[in-house]
Symmetry: C2
C-alpha cells in the first residue's frame, strides 16, 4: 500500500521506499534507522559516508568538543561501510554515474531489520545487485550485524571495499582527541578517546566471507560472481566505551569474535525473539485503516529503539537518530515517551525514572547555582543531570545576533513533570519499592525546589510562580503559567502524600531518607501549606476558560496565519525576545490543553471551551502539539478533529513534515521521539479513552470512522489486560497469568475481570 | 565672552548668538525661548513659521489627535508672526535671498527677555534693521508681549504683515477639530476646539502702532521709514483655554485690550519685578568662572520658565519647549526639578506636589487596571494622572517593528519617588498642613501600592519586588533593583511615620482621611511589617558594592565603547528587548549612584567603591546621568571629576549635546528640564555639600579649582540662609526677617545663626 509519495507498506509491519530521493536523505536516514537504546545506526546505504549523514550514535558518550560548544553524544566510526566496485567503477545509488535499475529500502518494524537492494547496470555488462540486511542487536546492544548479498546475472569480477570509515559526521565538532587503529586477528578495530574526559570508545569490525586483505581499518575483497549464484558477506560490528566497562577494547573484540562465529542467522534469531516479547507487550492493532496501523507501529518502533534499557540513561528528544538535542532528556521524556512504557513495560519506565534519581545531584547543583534549594532538573539532561542547554541556542536571522532564551532557567515545569511521572508510575504499578528507593527523594527535593522558587502574594493569600516559560515556548517571562502552576501544586501534593504514606509503611526507610537530605516534619508542613495556598488559575465560572498565564487574554488576538504574514524572514524565531508571536495570543503549543492531557480531572465542558479557544490560536510550532490536540479533542467528543491531529502527529517523521534546518542554520533532523510516544497516548488514552481512576481501569472508546477494531494491552499493577474494541463493542480479557481480578469501568458501570476471563461490553451508541 | 562656537555671554546674565546657523534652529529655538509655566514660546524669529519649529506650547491643553496617537499639549496659533517686506521682497534671516549685514539673537536671563536684531541690505537700497523684544509675562501668564523696531538708513517704504499664523507645528497630529477666526474691535482672534474633548482655546492678537488693515487674522501695515527714525510696533498676544475659564474668548480679549493700552514698557516693568523676586530666591553666583556662572543661570532659568506656578500642573520632561514627552511629568519632576524649588521657592514645590495629590485618582486607576491597589503613578503624567505613556514608543531600526517597552508598567519607582519628594518637602518646610491635606494620603496610597506589588519570599523571610525597570532603562525585567528597593522601603517607612505622627498631631483629620480611603490600623501594621522585612541589597561587606539588581554582576562586563562597536545601525535602541546593552553590565545611568544622590546615608567608602565600579560601565544615555555622577563624585571627594560631569550636564542644551532625532526618527528636540534642575543640585548639594540633617543645615563645600566664590540662598522651614563660600572660608547669614535661629553644621561643628547674623567659618584645608 502506498502511504504517500515513495512511502509504502506491505501489511502494516514495514515501511519501504522504491526509489531514492537524494533530497530526502536526512529524513529517510532516520526513517530506516535501526537501534537498541544503546546505539542508533542511521538507515543510510553502506557505501555512504559523512556527507550522506551516515552515523552511528552511541549513548552515554557525552563530550564537548571545545569550550562553548554543545555537549552531545559521539557519532562513532562506521564499521558497516561497504562499497562495491566493478571494473574500478564504484557503484552508488546516489551519484548517477551508474544506472540504477532497481531499488528498495525497507525497515521491518516487527524485528527491527533494515534491508536495501540496489540493482545496477554493471560496468562489466549485465546487471549486478547489492543487498543488505542489518540489525542493531536487541539482546547484546553492543552489536550491529549485517549480511550483504551480491548477485550478478553474468560472471563478474567485483571488488568490495569494506571496513571502518572513521570520517564521522558530527554536529558540534570533533569529539576525538586521539584515534588508534588496531587489528586483532581477523578483526579490525579503532580506539578513540574523547576530548573532554578522555573516555575510550572502541569500534571493532569483523567479516565472515571470502578472503580479504586488510589495509588498516579497510579491507579489500575480490569477489568472483557467477550468474545467479549469490555471494554473501556477513559483517559484525561491536561498540564499547569506557562508561560501559573498564576494558572496552577487550569486550568489543570478544563480542565481535563471538558474533562472527555465530553468524547472522543465529544473531537474528536471538534478536527477533526479543522483539517478539517487546511487541507482545506494546503492539497496537488497528483493523480497517492500514495507514493508521503502519503509522502506529512506525512510531511505537521508534519510541522503543531510542529508549535505553541496558542502563539508566535518558531518552533523547531525537533519540539516537542524530546528535540533535544532544541525545539528552527533556520534559518530553516523562510526559510523552514514558506513558507507553508505564503501561506496557513498566520496568523500562522505572529505569528511566531511576535515571532521574541518579541525576538528582546535577539537579541539586542547578538549583543551587540559580539560588534555589532542592532539585531543579536540567532542561537538557545528559549523564550527570547538570544543565546541558546553552544560554544561547538560536541566532536572530535578521541581525545575526545570538538570542538568549531561558529554556535553561525559567522553564521550571521540568521538575514537577518528573514527579508527575513518578506519580503515574506508582499509580500504574504500585511499586512502593521504587518510591522508597528513589521516587520519594525526588518528590521531596522537587517540593523543596518549588517552595524555594515560589513567592507568596500576601494581598491574595496565595503562592505564585513568577517569570516562567511554559511548554508554549513563544511566551517567555510569564507569571503563573497554568500548566506550571497545576503541575507544581500536584508535585507538592505528591511529596506530602508520599511522605505521609511512607511514614506508616516504612518509617525507618523514610527516616533514613529524611536524615540524608535533612528533611524535617516542619518542612513537610511547609509543603502542606504551600500546596494548600498554591495558586492555580481556575476555569472562569462563565466562559470555562483557563488563562494560560497572567495577562494572556489581553495580548493581541490574531490567527497564526495572519501573524505569519508579518515575517520578514521565514526562518525567524517566533518567540523571545522580539519574535512575532511574543505580544500575541498565538501559541507554539497550548499549555492548557497540555494540562488536560496529563490531568484528567477537568469537566468536559471546560475542556471543550478551552479547546475551542486555544486550538485556533495554536501554531503547532512544536512536534508535541498535534498529539495533545488529538487527545483533548477525543476528551471533548471531537473524534474527527482528533483523527486529523493523530494523522498530523503520527506522520511528522515518516512523511517528513518537519524542517531539517531552521533558526539560523541549525541542523534539526532526526526522529521526534516525543511525537512517537504521543502516538501511543493518542490511541490508548485518546481513542480508547483509557485512564486509571482509583483502583479501576476506565475505558471510553471513540474510534475514528474507518477503524473497525482497535486492540492493545495494558499492564496494571502486575496484571495484563487485553483490550479490543470496535465502535460498538468492547472486549477485555485478563491474562491467564494475572494474579488478581481487574476492575474495569465503562460509562460508570464496573466489570470485574478475573484472570483468564474475557468480558464483552456493549458501548453506548450515542458517541 | 565666547562660550562655544556662536554662543556668547556678556556677564553671565545673558546668552546670545552673532550669526544664524540654519542647522541649529531646533536647538537655538529652545535656547532663546521664553516662558512662564503657562506657555512656552520658542526663540524663533518673528518671520518664521512651522517649518522653523516656531511654536507656542500651552500647558493643560492635552489632546489626542486620533486614536492611537500620543496625547500631548497643543501648539497654538502664533500671534507674534511678523514679516517685513521692502519692495514686495520679504526679508528673511534664513533664506539668503537678501543679504544679512548684521545679526544677533539674545536671551536676557535676568528678566526673561528675548531680543533679536537683523540688518539687511534693503532691496530699496541702503540697509534696514528689524529688532524685537519679547516676553512671556511672568505676572499675567496669559500674555506675550513684543516690541518691534524698524530702522532704515534712508527713506524706505516698508510693508509689515503681522497677525496670527494658524499653521502650527504639531508632533502628533492636528489637535483642532474646528477653527473660527474673529475680530473684536482692533483685535484679531482665533478660537479653536480640540479633537478629543472639544476644549476651546483662544488666541487674541493686538497691535499698537501705525494704521493697519486687517485680512482675517493677518494685518498689513504700510510703514514709511525715515533715516534714523525708528518705527515701533507693539504687539500683545493673549491665550486662554477652556481649562482656565468658562469664557476663554472674553478673557483673552479683555487681557489683550488691557495690555495693549498699558503698552510694552508698563508690561515689562511688572514682568521684571516678578523676575527680580524669583532670582532673589534662587540665583546662584559663581565668581571666577564666567562660563559656569552662565551655565548655572541658563539652566536655573529654564527650570523656572517651564514650571507652572499659576495652577497645580506638572513640569514636562521637555517643559514647554516642544511637545516632546507630551508636556507631562516623569519621575524627574520629583527627583531633579523639585529640589531647587523645595529649598528656594517651597510654594512652587508644594503646588507641584499638590498636582500629584490631584492626580491620585488617575494613579489609583492605573494601579487597579494592572491588578494592584493604592496609587501607581503614571510614568507619563498629564492632566488626570492616567498613564499617557504608550505601550510602544520606539521602533526597532533593524526590523522596522515596534518595540514594546515597559516604562508604563514595570518602572514602579515613580510612586515611591513621589513620596520621597513629599518627605524632602516636609523636612525642608515643616509644612504639616500640606501633609494633612495631601501628602499623607499620597504616602498611604503609595504604601498600599507597594504592598500589593511586593512578593514575600518565605525561604528568605523578606519582601521582594519582581520584574522591575529601574532608572537605568537598558535593563528591563529585573528583580530587586537597588534603587527601587531602597526608595520603596523609604516610602513604606514614610507612610508609617506620617500615620503615627498625624495620630498624635491631628487625629481627627487622620480619621477622616482614613475613612475616605478605607484605611485601618491593621493595614498600617502590615506596612510596618513590610518595611521591616523589605529587602534592600546591602553593600557587600568586602567590596562595598551594591548590586544594581539580582544577577547584575553576572552579566557580560564590557565597556560602553567596546559595546558600541556592536551596533549595526547607530540609531539602534540599546535596551529591551534585544538591544546591545541588555545582556551586559553597561548602564544608561547608574541606579546605585542615583540612590546615593537622593539618600545620603551611605558611608563615603561605599559611595567611592560603587562610584568606581559603576562609572566606567555607564554610557550616560540619559540626560539625567551626568548630574548624578557629579553629585556623587563630590560626595567621594572627586571634585575634578565632579566638575567635568557638571560641565557635561550643564551644557546638554546650550551646547547642543543631545540628539534631536533618534530611535527610528522620533523628534526629541527641546530643553531637558531635569538636567536644568540637576544643575542646582550639582552646585548646591554637590559642590557646596548642602544637606539637611535633623534640624540642622549641613554644608561641606568643595569648590572647583576656578571658582573663587559660590553664593546662593536656601529657604529652610520659613527662614532664609544666605551662603557664600570660597575654598577656604564659608559665610552664612540669616535673613533679617527670619523668625528663628538656624543651626548650621560644618565638619561636625555647629553654628547657630540668628536672624540678621552673619557667621564666618574657616574651612578645613585638606579638601
Amino acid at each position: 500500500m502506498k502511504l504517500i509519495e515513495n512511502v509504502y507498506t506491505d501489511a502494516g509491519w514495514d515501511v519501504h521506499e522504491k526509489s531514492l530521493d537524494p533530497e530526502q536523505i536526512v529524513t529517510t536516514g532516520s526513517t530506516f534507522m535501526i537501534g537498541n537504546g544503546y546505539l542508533g545506526y542511521r538507515g543510510t546505504l553502506s557505501e555512504w559516508r559523512a556527507e550522506q549523514y551516515t552515523a552511528c550514535i552511541v549513548t552515554d558518550t557525552w563530550d564537548t568538543a571545545q569550550p562553548g560548544a554543545l555537549t552531545e553524544l559521539c557519532t562513532v566510526p562506521n564499521g558497516l561501510y561497504l562499497e562495491l566496485s566493478v571494473d574500478t567503477v564504484p557503484l552508488s545509488a546516489i551519484d548517477g554515474a551508474t544506472e540504477v535499475q532497481g531499488y528498495e529500502r525497507r525497515i521491518d518494524l516487527r524485528t527491527g531489520l533494515f534491508s536495501r537492494h540496489t540493482r545496477w547496470a554493471s560496468p562489466a555488462g549485465g546487471s549486478i545487485t547489492l543487498g543488505e540486511e542489518r540489525l542493531a542487536h536487541a539482546d547484546n546492544v553492543h552489536l550491529i550485524a549485517s549480511r550483504f548479498t551480491l548477485i550478478a546475472d553474468r560472471a563478474t569480477d567485483a571488488t568490495v571495499r569494506t571496513g571502518i570509515d572513521a570520517d564521522v559526521w558530527s554536529l558540534s565538532g570533533n569529539h576525538f582527541a586521539r584515534k588508534e587503529a588496531f587489528t586483532d586477528g581477523e578483526l579490525n578495530g579503532v580506539s578513540l578517546w574523547t576530548v573532554e574526559s578522555g573516555t575510550q570508545i572502541v569500534v571493532v569490525e569483523g567479516v565472515r566471507t571470502v578472503d580479504s586483505s586488510s589495509e588498516s581499518m579497510m579491507r579489500r575483497l575480490d569477489v568472483g560472481l557467477e550468474p545467479g549464484g549469490p555471494v554473501t558477506i556477513e559483517k559484525v560490528v561491536a561498540v564499547y566505551h569506557g562508561n560501559d566497562t573498564d576494558d572496552p577494547r577487550a569486550c568489543a573484540v570478544r563480542d565481535a569474535r563471538r558474533a562472527l562465529s555465530e553468524g547472522f542467522d543465529t544473531l537474528y534469531a536471538a534478536h527477533s525473539s526479543v522483539w517478539q516479547r517487546v511487541w507482545a507487550a506494546c503492539d497496537i492493532e488497528i483493523e480497517g485503516d492500514l495507514e493508521a496501523q503502519t503509522l502506529a507501529r512506525f512510531n511505537l518502533f521508534h519510541n522503543i529503539i531510542h529508549t535505553p534499557t541496558h542502563a539508566r540513561l535518558p531518552i533523547g528528544a531525537r533519540g539516537l537518530s542524530s546528535q540533535v538535542y544532544q541525545g539528552a532528556a527533556f520534559w518530553d521524556q516523562e510526559t510523552f515517551n514514558l506513558p507507553m512504557f508505564v503501561y506496557t513495560r513498566p520496568d523500562v519506565a522505572r529505569s528511566i525514572l531511576e535515571y532521574r534519581y541518579d541525576t538528582l545531584p546535577g539537579a541539586r547543583r542547578k538549583a543551587e547555582r540559580l539560588g534555589y534549594r532542592g532539585a531543579y532538573y536540567a532542561w537538557t539532561s545528559g549523564k550527570t543531570g547538570d544543565e546541558l542547554f546553552p544560554d544561547v541556542f538560536f541566532t536572530d536571522v535578521l541581525t545575526g545576533r545570538p538570542i538568549r532564551n531561558h529554556f535553561n532557567c525559567w522553564q521550571i515545569h521540568i521538575s514537577p513533570d518528573v514527579v508527575y511521572a513518578i506519580d503515574q508510575y506508582l499509580t500504574a504499578t504500585d511499586d512502593w519499592d521504587f518510591v522508597e528507593r528513589c521516587g520519594a527523594e525526588i518528590a521531596f527535593e522537587v517540593a523543596r525546589f518549588i517552595v524555594s522558587r515560589a513567592h507568596f502574594k500576601k494581598d491574595k493569600n496565595r503562592f505564585e510562580l513568577i517569570r516562567l516559560l511554559g511548554p508554549d515556548e513563544y511566551h517567555e517571562n510569564v507569571d503563573n503559567n497554568a500548566f506550571t502552576m497545576y503541575l507544581s501544586k500536584l508535585a507538592l501534593e505528591t511529596a506530602v502524600r508520599l511522605y505521609d504514606e511512607l511514614s506508616s509503611r516504612t518509617p525507618q526507610t523514610l527516616a533514613r531518607t529524611s536524615r540524608r537530605i535533612d528533611l524535617t516534619h516542619a518542612e513537610v508542613d511547609e509543603w502542606r501549606e504551600h500546596a494548600r495556598l498554591f495558586y492555580v488559575p481556575a476555569p472562569d465560572p462563565d466562559s470555562g476558560l483557563i488563562e494560560q498565564f497572567d495577562g494572556y487574554f489581553e495580548l493581541e488576538d490574531v490567527t497564526p496565519d495572519r501573524l505569519r504574514e508579518r515575517l520578514i524572514d521565514p526562518e525567524e524565531y517566533w518567540g523571545w525576545p522580539a519574535g512575532i508571536a511574543v505580544r500575541t495570543q498565538v501559541l507554539k503549543q497550548a499549555d492548557v490543553l497540555q494540562l488536560f492531557a496529563l490531568v484528567d480531572s477537568f469537566p468536559p465542558d471546560v475542556m471543550r471551551a478551552n479547546y475551542e479557544y486555544y486550538e485556533p490560536r495554536t501554531e503547532h510550532g512544536s512536534s508535541l502539539s498535534p498529539s495533545i490536540h488529538s487527545i483533548v479533542a477525543c476528551g471533548c467528543g471531537l473524534t474527527d478533529k482528533a483523527y486529523r491531529y493523530f494523522h498530523e502527529a503520527a506522520t511528522i517523521d515518516l512523511y517528513n513534515r518537519s524542517r531539517k534546518v531552521k533558526s539560523g542554520g541549525s541542523f534539526l533532523g532526526g526522529i521526534h521521539t516525543a511525537a512517537c510516544g504521543g502516538v501511543w497516548m493518542m490511541i490508548v488514552q485518546g481513542f480508547a479513552g483509557f485512564r486509571v481512576s482509583g483502583d479501576s481501569i476506565e475505558l471510553d472508546p471513540a474510534l475514528p470512522e474507518t477503524w473497525k477494531t482497535l486492540a492493545f494491552r495494558v499492564c496494571f499493577r502486575g496484571n495484563t489486560l487485553s483490550v479490543t474494541t470496535s465502535r460498538w463493542r468492547l472486549t477485555v480479557s485478563g491474562a491467564e497469568e494475572n494474579s488478581a481480578a481487574l476492575s474495569v469501568r465503562v460509562s460508570n458501570d464496573e466489570w470485574i475481570v478475573s484472570p483468564g476471563e474475557t468480558v464483552q461490553i456493549d458501548l453506548p451508541r450515542n458517541r
